[in-house]
Symmetry: C2
């Protein structure tokens, strides 16, 4: 196993760590930009490296639909296919089957569903899901899980979680890799007892890391934070902890304080394409008429390519004229902001100052700094 995790320092519940994979190291806490179809939207691998992304995420479900796992396997795996040389994690597809697929039928065996894209009948079982991720050659694979809907009664959440746990165990048994890691996913909805039971179950299978899944499905921010605050400190100390699909800069800081090491979210890239740009003081909406004539950059303090070279006026203009370059420059900025945020978080942990850092960040934050 070439996958290892070590904790360099800690600050209350927060940890500063380092993951080593077959494709290089990941400094944690880390944020993974999302490359759904094997491409981070509007950003080349070269630019991603320049921005300083250690690791990215791609989606098994989407890659199954297009171009197909077999095609990527034939072309030497996902790294070779997309020209990305650093670590890569794939989602198992469980969440997407829940949120995107048509006419899904879940059984003990797995899930049958139809692609909304082309109507093709598709199937995912714990075993095929592992095979897909092995064929892709990803550094970190995720177990297949059933994503429990919200709101849901305790008994249904329990049944769903227990199915996911049986699947997790089958995933562990069928994931055969000397060099890559498999993470288990804690389910149980907003019920603390179920989350704890799920975690106990997973620990028996000895995964290389543990994730909190099934959040951001409709529950309130308070409910989400409560789940993270409750379960995170109980997760194995010596393994990476991953909070799936989260979130805003505030969510990330809050969750790092609960001991989370890994994050992924479409927010920086999706918001970039919609002209919502992150700064240390909050969100700049580039479409705001305030930015029509504005000679300064998005953020005076930012050192990204976009801020070093372009005014808000220019970005406002690119947005108005629907130039693709606008999406690219905005995405560069937002991803740089996230990567830089993680770097500052790591430094704050090393210096034992995360609490001060967080308080200052929360205090300065404004959801629309032009309003």
């Amino acid at each position: 196993m070439s996958f290892t995790f070590s904790i360099i320092s800690s600050d209350e519940n927060a940890r500063r760590g380092e993951i080593t994979t077959h494709h290089g190291k990941i400094q944690t806490p880390a944020f993974m930009p999302v490359g759904t179809y094997g491409a981070v939207k509007a950003i080349s691998p070269q630019v991603l490296e320049e921005i300083g992304a250690d690791v990215i995420l791609s989606n098994t479900y989407h890659l199954m639909e297009r171009p197909g796992i077999e095609t990527i396997k034939q072309l030497g795996g996902i790294h070779n296919f997309m020209g990305w040389t650093r670590p890569l994690l794939t989602d198992s597809g469980g969440y997407q089957v829940f949120s995107l697929a048509k006419k899904r039928k879940i059984s003990e065996k797995g899930v049958d569903f139809f692609s909304p894209l082309n109507g093709n009948q598709l199937h995912l079982s714990p075993e095929t899901c592992m095979q897909h991720q092995m064929d892709l050659g990803v550094d970190i694979a995720m177990v297949l899980d059933e994503c429990t809907p919200y709101p849901v009664e305790h008994q249904i959440a329990k049944d769903s979680m227990e199915l996911s746990m049986r699947w997790a165990s089958r995933c562990r048994d069928s994931f055969l890799s000397e060099k890559n890691a498999l993470f288990g996913i804690i389910q149980g909805g907003v019920y603390q007892d179920l989350r704890e039971e799920s975690l106990s179950c997973l620990i028996k299978s000895e995964f290389e890391g543990y994730a909190i899944g099934g959040l951001s499905v409709g529950e309130t921010k308070e409910e989400m934070n409560a789940v993270v605050a409750y379960i995170s400190p109980k997760m194995p100390q010596e393994k990476p902890r991953y909070l799936m699909g989260v979130g805003t800069p505030l969510d990330i800081i809050h969750s790092v304080q609960q001991g989370i090491d890994l994050f992924d979210c479409v927010l920086p890239t999706r918001n970039a394409r919609n002209g919502y740009l992150f700064t240390s003081k909050g969100v700049v909406k580039i479409r705001n008429s305030h930015n029509r004539i504005y000679e300064g950059p998005i953020d005076d303090a930012c050192l990204c390519y976009t801020c070093r070279n372009f005014s808000r006026s220019y970005l406002h203009h690119l947005d108005k004229t629907k130039e693709m370059l606008g999406s690219t420059l905005n995405s560069i900025h937002n991803l740089f902001f996230y990567i830089e945020l993680m770097s500052n978080i790591r430094l704050a942990i090393e210096e034992g100052k995360l609490k001060i850092f967080a308080e200052k960040f929360f205090k300065n934050w404004d959801n629309d700094i032009n309003s």
Copy 2:
């Protein structure tokens, strides 16, 4: 005047030259990527520089509509606005008024028209057109001309050309710049006598360069080539010659052989977005199912970022999934191909081998190499 042109060597009618501008040098024959709205579609200035573009073109007409010339002036000019440090030429807007504007009224004074974008009433006269290009701070400005339609009777073409010539003279009088150049535009449709008369007229005003305008408006390729072959050798030897809006690699090679020094065309970038990719052997259509599983690059011999890092399979996939990155990677390749083509043309002229180069290129060319 910091604008100069010198001929380094020649090969029959073809010339290998160098233009010096306030923003640096242009090696000729040169191709100018098109950045209509002050942005080459899907490509950042950094990438354009890496590709090796000496000079780009932008459109006065489009910049008048969005963001407005005054805005760019306030932001320090077009170079500062778009983050481009090398030479830049603007089209005068004459052609776009002809092809895009609504309800245009042409008079001796100038042209009134309505923006199809927002219904705003706009006006271009020789004097305002020069003021706009001076405000933008472009290295090479173009005179305002009336683009003669096709087909058209001799008398109408003559009247139109004569109006353009009176406008050209007013442009010369009102273009006040110590450092930037103004080019005249030869009109006259497909009539050789009118083209010659137009050229004589322009020469009296002593422009820093001369362009052939009013082509690619519906005439046959033979008619276009005949105009270029007739008028190009008669254009002043010691000034740059610019064939506007042309064209395919074959058109460019053919026109260089007639003595043309400058080209611009949307073809490499527009075709890139549609998956038509140029190679030394002809056109690769990336959407072709032949490229679904194809491990090699677009062109084995190409050294562009795209060909060095990505397979045709990946580009086929990005096209299918409508990922913006596909447009970017395809545009990088096509622009690199054009820039490289010009570099090879210059070398062939220096070595006195342009005829052999052209014959070989024409012989190898295939409009769809997978068919």
